[in-house]
Point group: C2
């Protein structure tokens, strides 16, 4: 079996009434799906059922019919509503029996936590189905369990995310790598981050550059409020083979998307701005009206931001724009707070006042109220100051208040990032 | 059937390769589950499969075996990888046929969007299974489809969240309310928001107050970084009956949780602070160091915040604390930036400088770097100024940078909220 060429497939069964109510987002299912795909056993089916033994048995049976590996999560706790282990033991006809070694470990765990003795309820957690492999749980009392079922494998994991992830990344990963070996087809990814261009527009640029034979590479556009990631994926290749394919795509696609692209380890544009500022030896301050602190929050989300970010002024009220940033009262009166001249004075004013090289100014109408025919909701002026030179741009954004604020902040960060990366070399 | 007493149940089938990769979180499944529970048809099973006709047929068959109503989402687009409609038509033996009325509506839609004619590919979207009811899609080209299957109902919805939600809240809700009528058992919820108390501590206070006969009410603790919501749910009652039960719980539980409780329509503490400030006729300004704009961002997330929020200073660098907020250089040198005296000067300084009644000051170590044995990562001073009187408190927070920042901001907002709601009545 180990040397069979057939690709191993996986199915996921998540158990829990709270998942059926839709109040708890099923992060375990998504995490397991990504981890199994990365390991090389892609998920072909996911099922969710409540804490009901007959439903669990039915779901595991369906999952076994669909895949070589079935991962079940949830319902391994010590209380009466945790029925997963018993249900699977019944389905597979593997009676539960007390595992003395596991019992000793659990008792030790409770002593280490300061209990005089283990609560009797937890004794059931030391019972394992006949023939099961026990997988160590570093973060809790419910161990993982792996059961060989004819040519297939059923794995039970606790539903607490930290415990599930710990077991998967610990003994389970080793077991799966050994058990499915050459039947695993790991996936390699290569991500190109863009911002400031719509998905459809990006596709228009990218599609004509793709090789007619795409080889083992698939392409996905992943859009959110901040931009669009272009993700290349290749399955069943070595890392070196995948890298060679990705390089071919980079050569074709890279040049056409360059104006909107940024590089950031965690995919965050603020991370890219901070790195660019640090490389250029420059520091920044921000002046925000409609974004109300979001631009500063984004920049300071990044660890180590104090190297390049000194602070800012949130000038929500016009009196603050005048008093703290030196915005002209007359311009405010004549042009209004949402105007090119005010945005420019905010960016320049905060950079001068805080004694730094770069400034950002944002002023606009985030809504839902406050729009007028001339300045509707979504009208946002963004200004950047760099080494004394100011540039400003008017955006017309769509969406609700949150979307307008997120897009405004992203565009402000993007505009300063472009200027720092293109002007820094030829700066004063 | 309409007057049968048996409760209607639902199953959800979500279709899409991207859902199996785990890269896309399945928000449709959670949204549908909540909406169906609220409507009164609880979900008993969820399945996810890829864009493969045989898998889709299998999943819909399993779902029909489990529930009275099957909602399928995804795979209704016009391209070759959208196979859901054909798969379901084949499974139920309902051949597709062109719906002339629907075709005319689609063509009109494309003309309205400025196309000279509809792309030929979209013609397939006007094909419907024999006997299907077409559900209008206000936001896109793929209509919803409802099919009677013996005593059950199968509904197909597009996977784009806005389109799915629009159809559900539009014609589908009406259809389901009529079709399942007295078999629906709507759920009523009553939520009590708390912040500043751990889930386990809250449970210790709440559990002894619960009636021994809980009646039709179930209780859930819903924790996140900002606090714990206590949610009461009651099924199968009229609104008035549910309200009577909730009032009994309020009478018992309300008094013991009052010190940590807040009232906010959308569950956001900043919303509660803004309302309390507005009611007291007071305005606020903020001075932030480690939270870097997050407190201001939270306050301005709330529409209409300009009524109570004037602005703030992000004093990341110590020079900004001195120059913009009047923090004493000597105190900074002697006590350090993360100290009671600096937090207090920040809160008082920003309120005085901005000419408002209330100020918030936050200074701490968000990590991952910057901690020392005396001031470890997670040490955060919070100060509030109200009508000239300053209070400060040292927090010891756990978690990563994001968690420490989120908790700091929440605690700062909470402390001012408590003061405004308790002191405003007896203020100057």
């Amino acid at each position: 079996l180990k040397n069979s060429g057939a690709e191993a497939t996986a199915a996921i069964v998540t158990v829990g009434n709270e998942l059926l109510y839709g109040e708890t987002v099923d992060t375990n299912a998504a995490w397991l799906a990504r981890s199994l795909a990365a390991l090389g056993a892609p998920v072909v089916k996911k099922l969710t059922v409540g804490d009901v033994a007959s439903e669990i048995r039915g779901a595991v049976r369906e999952a076994l019919a669909a895949a070589d590996l079935v991962v079940v999560s949830g319902g391994l706790g010590p209380t009466a509503d945790d029925v997963t282990k018993q249900a699977v033991a019944d389905l597979l006809d593997r009676p539960l029996a007390l595992d003395e070694g596991l019992l000793a470990r659990l008792e030790e765990l409770f002593r280490a936590r300061g209990f005089r003795e283990m609560p009797p309820l937890n004794r059931t957690q030391a019972e394992v189905p006949e023939g099961a492999t026990v997988l160590r749980n570093q973060h809790g009392t419910a161990p993982g369990l792996a059961l060989e079922v004819q040519a297939k494998l059923v794995v039970l994991l606790p539903g607490v995310p930290r415990e599930l992830r710990g077991i998967f990344d610990g003994e389970l990963r080793v077991l799966l790598s050994e058990r499915f070996a050459s039947r695993l087809r790991p996936v390699h990814h290569h991500v190109m981050h863009t911002t400031g261009i719509a998905e459809s527009k990006l596709a228009e640029l990218v599609e004509p550059r793709l090789p007619s034979d795409r080889g083992p590479v698939t392409l996905a556009y992943l859009p959110d409020l901040r931009g669009v990631d272009l993700r290349l994926s290749a399955r069943g290749l070595s890392a070196a083979e995948a890298a060679a394919w990705f390089a071919r795509y980079e050569a074709e696609v890279g040049p056409v998307i360059a104006p909107w692209r940024f590089e950031a380890q965690h995919g965050d544009l603020a991370e890219a701005l901070n790195a660019a500022l640090a490389a250029a030896g420059k520091r920044v301050a921000v002046a925000e009206s409609c974004t109300g602190g979001l631009v500063a929050k984004r920049i300071t989300d990044v660890p180590g931001s104090s190297e390049v970010f000194v602070g800012g002024v949130i000038a929500y009220d016009n009196a603050v724009k005048t008093a703290e940033l030196g915005v002209s009262e007359e311009d405010l009166r004549r042009q209004g707070a949402v105007s090119e001249v005010v945005a420019a004075q905010m960016a320049r004013g905060v950079a001068e006042r805080f004694g730094v090289d770069a400034g950002i100014g944002v002023t606009g109408i985030a809504g839902p109220a406050g729009g007028t025919p001339e300045k509707p909701v979504g009208a946002v002026w963004i200004a950047t100051a760099l080494d004394g030179a100011v540039e400003a741009k008017l955006l017309h954004l769509v969406g609700n208040r949150e979307a307008i604020r997120e897009r405004s902040a992203q565009e402000a960060i993007a505009r300063l990032y472009r200027r720092v990366t293109t002007e820094a070399g030829r700066g004063a």
